[in-house]
């Protein structure tokens, strides 16, 4: 009773909502780049929203399901095929036993999420099945999936998937998936934004940046104008967060992402608003990026509103899955 990895895709990892409670020991949270897409994929198959799911990147994996399974795929616009049928995203599907699922390539956006009803039967590492590639923590010794790997599925109590009715509804991805690089990313001022020299401060808010090729799950490097401080700063290392924009001495800003280290000592020139992190996670290397200032209080208000909206949606999905 398992899912076999026939082809791993470009970068496919198991992620849940992250490894929390060990940051004081230097253990980062890891977790999904696009947290909302992972939560919705889980909700669509009736899982806890934080259950382990697969995150795949640009080129998805090819998987064989030994048994019937209910699945959902969210995130970037991947061309998902089961055998030769195109499978719509943001929707729950029942796959018969023996199905080969090809997650294909992303035509828009970068990262997709596959959740399976019941979840993967994986032993948590420090309370989480999130894959931390740099610290080699998580399932499969913290590495990306390879061809030949096999993931067991948790048994679903009393599930008769073979006769499950076909669900005729799907989620509207639009509020949750926005691949348009023309849309600005909201940025809260950081501790050292005011320490930038005037030209750099103007550039941060007006210039167009591009995501560098060497961006990854740890951070997105931004090509564009080099930024500089008015005067050098000697800083003590302190905690960083998902979305913290650091400025290393070379002047190329880095946005810290899901697998960021727990602490960092570079100047912090901004903090990406949490509501825009999923959008940022879907930008591809080479994509344009522009920042738009947002106030801390406004960012937090919008974050709470998003969480309320997701809670309402979760309740609505749960109700539909029962009928």
């Amino acid at each position: 009773m398992s899912v076999a990895v026939l082809k791993p895709g470009w970068l496919t990892t198991v992620q849940d909502r992250g490894r929390h409670g060990y940051a004081n020991l230097g253990v980062g949270s890891a977790g999904p780049m696009d947290e909302v897409a992972l939560r919705l994929a889980n909700l669509l198959v009736g899982n806890d929203e934080g259950a382990g799911a697969l995150e795949f990147t640009a080129q998805g994996p090819r998987l064989r399901f030994a048994q019937a399974a209910r699945i959902a795929v969210t995130g970037a616009a991947f061309e998902v095929r089961h055998d030769d049928t195109l499978l719509p995203l943001w929707q729950s599907h029942v796959l018969p036993a023996g199905t080969t699922l090809d997650l294909g390539t992303a035509t828009q956006g970068l990262r997709g999420y596959l959740a399976v009803a019941g979840g993967f039967a994986l032993a948590p590492v420090l309370g989480s099945v999130a894959t931390d590639l740099n610290s080699a923590l998580g399932p499969f010794e913290g590495r990306a999936l390879r061809a030949g790997d096999s993931l067991d599925l948790n048994a679903l109590p009393g599930a008769e998937l073979g006769s499950a009715p076909k669900l005729r509804w799907s989620l509207d991805p639009r509020p949750w998936f926005d691949p348009d690089p023309a849309h600005p990313i909201h940025l809260i001022a950081g501790t050292h934004t005011d320490a930038l020299d005037p030209a750099s401060r103007a550039a941060l808010h007006q210039a167009e940046f591009r995501l560098a090729r060497d961006s990854n799950r740890v951070g997105l490097r931004l090509d564009g104008p080099r930024l500089a401080l008015s005067a050098p700063l000697e800083l003590a290392s302190e905690a960083t967060a998902f979305g913290t924009v650091q400025l290393p001495p070379g002047g190329q800003p880095i946005v810290l992402m899901a697998e960021h280290p727990t602490t960092g000592g570079y100047p912090r020139i901004g903090q990406v608003a949490a509501i825009d992190l999923p959008r940022l996670a879907q930008r591809r290397p080479g994509d344009r990026l522009r920042f738009l200032t947002i106030d801390q209080d406004e960012a937090q208000t919008r974050y709470l509103a998003r969480e309320r909206e997701l809670a309402t949606l979760a309740a609505a999905i749960a109700q539909r899955l029962q009928t």
Binding site: H20, Y22, L25, G26, E238, A239, E307
Partner: protein
């Protein structure tokens, strides 16, 4: 920036779910002790709605549950939590900064175990044996863990042993390497890239996901180093492997 002055620390939001309490701009033993005392107090009062405490050299970060701290008044959660913290710290914390633990770390110094020992000694203007003696004489405090799981930043290094980091970091530092970076000493828990000067290696494991707790050291612990020879290194390493 909406940072507010506090007796002893400033409070600043870092995004929607983290608050940073800063106790100073430079890391020293006194500032770091206040960081650990504050963390100990927050654990003692079991403040609700906190997900993670991350002590650093001069600051303490609080990961919090923003919906939990969204009060009915319409006040932003970070301000609500900041106000609550001010009340908690209105009387200075009486909790001790000392975790109460002293951990002895055996180290085989120099040679193939610490290829930069001679460079550190010559930078200090002393011989290698004297550098080892001074490194072992100190009692260190775990200021913070960071960079990698289980990597301790230790305060208390003899000033003669301070040495700026390497201009070119090494791509691979062997696991267990004991190293000097600036005014601090630290231990690489696993093979990692690193720019600190390698003076020795410990055979003990710094981080093991199967162990409880997974990290040998915790913030606030005291650490002493004990010099061992290659034979004892192998014996301890072998015993650990069993």
């Amino acid at each position: 920036m909406s940072a507010s002055a506090e007796p002893g620390f400033t409070i600043e939001p870092l995004g929607e779910t983290t608050l940073l309490l800063r106790f100073g701009t430079q890391v020293d033993a006194a500032v770091n002790a206040r960081v650990h005392a504050a963390a100990a107090l927050l654990r003692k009062v079991e403040m609700p709605g906190l997900l993670d405490l991350i002590p650093a050299g001069a600051s303490l970060a609080l990961h919090y549950d923003a919906p939990f701290w969204a009060g009915s008044s319409g006040e932003p959660p970070w301000q609500h939590l900041a106000g609550t913290l001010r009340a908690v710290f209105a009387t200075p914390p009486t909790a001790s900064a000392d975790s109460g633990r002293v951990v002895e770390v055996p180290v085989c110094y120099g040679g193939e175990f610490g290829c930069d020992l001679d460079a550190v000694a010559s930078h200090a203007g002393i011989d290698a044996a004297c550098a080892i003696a001074r490194h072992c004489a100190g009692e260190y405090r775990v200021a913070m863990l960071g960079f990698a799981p289980g990597f301790p930043y230790l305060l208390g290094l003899d000033p003669t042993l301070h040495m700026p980091r390497r201009a070119q970091p090494r791509l691979r530092v062997p696991p267990g390497s004991v190293a000097i970076g600036g005014a601090q000493t630290g231990i690489y828990p696993r093979e990692l890239p690193g720019g600190w000067h390698l003076i020795g290696r410990t055979p003990v494991s710094l981080f093991d996901v199967e162990a409880r707790p997974p990290s040998l050291l915790a913030p606030g612990d005291r650490v002493r180093f004990r010099a061992i020879d290659a034979e004892e290194f192998e014996a301890i390493a072998e015993a650990n492997a069993r």
